[in-house]
């Protein structure tokens, strides 16, 4: 016992000797940052495992009693009640986010190649307007888009603008393409074009060059642009809120809103839904953090 006490004492002495003021402030700052960042995420995950009684208790339950999956079961139960069939909403989000990401990557790759490698008039003007669009408020576009698409659908009559996931994909493309174009054009400029020139001389066409040389060389950039556009579409709230009315067509963000705004909200279910929605993007991010961080500072995620 005494041994442990003396060990403790030497440890504190050791700590005191090593601890200078700058070090103290450094670790203090680190602790504050880590706690304030991690705690909300811990609270989200732990709340999703709590019981209704723990959620509504007289004191907050810091650790859920047991690891119960009730909230998740409720969330995905098709017959639970009128809206907890979250699986459909996950599917809707995937149906919106993946096509957005793929189309955005393909189109912006072609456009960015043109901007980075080919000479044509109006290039500078185009790049500058892309930057301007980047700073444009989404709220300003939603009214005219809504009115415009309502008008077009009345004229053509082939599609409905309400509850149409394809319409959402198009609006997301409009907001993500400028950013994707800008990021990729910047990346392509960093690739030396000698190989391309050699391939052109050997008789390869421009499209062949893009397919065989530029694309393989820029896989990291293409992946990060894909993930950004995916994340933007995955997280988007406003357009989905305006364009979707039917609960079975809801993407995850507005479905979570609906669950939260229920007259008797079940916080554990809201938190479980939040976990389900956050997990894929957080995992993607952690796995690919190394090159994603670079793109982030280039303004990958607007907002």
């Amino acid at each position: 016992m005494a041994n442990i006490e003396s060990q403790k004492a030497t440890f504190i002495e050791h700590l005191a000797r090593r601890m200078t003021w700058p070090r103290f402030f450094f670790w203090l700052g680190m602790t504050v940052f880590w706690t304030t960042i991690i705690f909300p995420f811990y609270w989200m995950v732990s709340s999703s495992f709590k019981t209704g009684a723990e959620i509504a208790g007289r004191t907050p339950a810091f650790v859920p009693g047991t690891l119960r999956w009730n909230a998740y079961q409720q969330l995905f139960n098709e017959n639970w009640d009128r809206f907890h069939d979250f699986g459909t909403n996950v599917t809707n989000s995937i149906l919106v986010a993946i096509p957005t990401a793929i189309i955005a990557v393909i189109l912006s790759m072609l456009g960015a190649y043109a901007i980075a490698r080919l000479k044509f008039r109006g290039k500078e003007l185009m790049l500058n307007s892309v930057l301007l669009i980047y700073l444009f408020p989404g709220i300003l576009l939603i009214i005219p888009l809504f009115a415009m698409l309502a008008q077009i659908s009345r004229w053509i009559g082939l599609f409905d603008i309400q509850d149409n996931l394809a319409v959402l994909v198009f609006t997301y493309l409009a907001t993500t393409l400028p950013v994707a174009l800008y990021m990729l054009a910047n990346y392509f400029r960093t690739i030396p074009d000698e190989i391309e020139q050699a391939a052109l001389i050997d008789g390869c066409t421009r499209l062949g060059v893009i397919w065989r040389i530029t694309m393989p060389l820029s896989v990291p950039a293409l992946v990060s642009v894909g993930i950004y556009t995916f994340m933007i579409a995955w997280n988007e709230l406003l357009y989905a809120l305006v364009f979707l009315n039917d609960r079975t067509m809801f993407t995850m963000p507005i479905k979570i809103m609906a669950i939260f705004n229920d007259p008797s909200p079940q916080m554990e279910v809201v938190m479980a839904a939040s976990v389900v929605m956050s997990l894929p993007v957080m995992l993607l991010f952690l796995v690919l953090e190394r090159y994603l961080a670079e793109g982030l500072s280039a303004g990958g995620v607007k907002g």
Partner: protein, 319 residues
């Protein structure tokens, strides 16, 4: 034959000619065309159309024939300017225009300051640096809906609301406060949320700049006997000046445009109604699209002022 090509327009000639440069330009336009069509059709045209709508009387009843909506002159604008939710009334009820400005300026300042602190911490060599950097980015990459609702749940005034519970335990307050449903507190908390969620953006950009600072400057200053604070003040800050200026305006613009955060945290109630939320309410709660468009145009005008400032002072200096 030669005469006809000479009389045709230069652009047409260029497009039709088969020289290397012309073929290249043609290919460039083909490659970029899909992007341009989508962006023009779904961003540029709507933006201009929005100006048109703001002068018309557009409601749900004539949304299907919006192009023949009756002209209203500046009617929508005067309606917005006179709206109780827009104009300044008192310090506890600032109206959307002023709330927007207060919110975006304080939020941005907080974001930049916290981002600077985080970047300075992460610029030190220590073992968990890579991990810390990844973790510090969490608030920024997590979906807004989930983080906003966790905050709402943590700030809940119920006995199980954790922030209220801890504050009472620490004797900071003596009874639960409905933080997001109380004038004053609500605005303060959406500003703090802004700092919490967006500091990683500032952190990353500042960190990148910090790592590019010439290390010999610090050594020289050390030799000259400058202490840590002096080194920070006389070397680090001047080196960071431009990047901080750029982040500040970029974030200011984005915060000014921001709809989701406040909409999810307070629904725009309790003195947090900003212009984007007001635009949404006019358009999709009251279905007065003309008035909504007018509000968004007012937002745009303020934004353009920011942009001009941005272009004149920041873009020029950064180069």
């Amino acid at each position: 034959m030669t005469t006809t090509t000479q009389t045709s327009t230069p652009l047409f000639k260029r497009m039709m000619s088969n020289s290397m440069g012309a073929r290249e330009a043609r290919l460039a336009w083909i490659l970029i065309l899909p992007t341009i069509v989508i962006v023009l059709g779904l961003v540029l045209f709507p933006a201009i159309f929005s100006i048109w709508i703001s002068f018309r009387d557009v409601g749900l009843n004539n949304l299907d024939s919006v192009f023949s909506a009756p002209f209203k002159g500046f009617g929508n604008y005067t309606a917005v300017f006179n709206d109780f939710a827009f104009k300044y009334n008192s310090i506890t009820n600032m109206g959307a225009a002023l709330t927007s400005i207060v919110y975006s300026f304080s939020g941005t300042i907080l974001t930049v300051v916290v981002g600077l602190l985080a970047a300075l911490l992460l610029n030190q060599p220590f073992r968990a640096r890579g991990l810390s950097r990844a973790i510090f980015l969490f608030p920024y990459v997590a979906p807004i809906v989930s983080v906003a609702y966790v905050w709402r749940w943590m700030l809940d005034p119920k006995p199980s609301g954790v922030i209220n519970y801890l504050s009472i335990q620490l004797n900071l307050i003596d009874r639960p406060i409905p933080f997001l449903a109380k004038v004053g507190w609500a605005l303060l908390l959406v500003i703090i949320f802004e700092g919490w969620r967006y500091f990683p953006f500032a952190m990353l950009m500042i960190l990148a700049r910090l790592q590019a600072v010439d290390k010999t400057l610090y050594e020289a200053a050390k030799v000259d006997g400058a202490n840590a604070l002096q080194r920070f003040w006389n070397i680090t800050l001047p080196e960071l000046r431009f990047v901080i200026g750029a982040i500040f305006l970029l974030r200011l613009i984005w915060t000014f445009n921001k709809f989701d955060d406040i909409f999810l945290l307070t629904g725009g109630g309790f003195g947090t109604k900003v212009l984007p939320v007001l635009t949404y309410e006019f358009s999709f709660r009251l279905f007065d699209f003309g008035k909504g468009a007018a509000t968004s145009m007012i937002l745009l005008v303020i934004l353009v002022v920011f942009l001009v400032f941005y272009a004149r002072f920041v873009m020029r200096d950064v180069e």
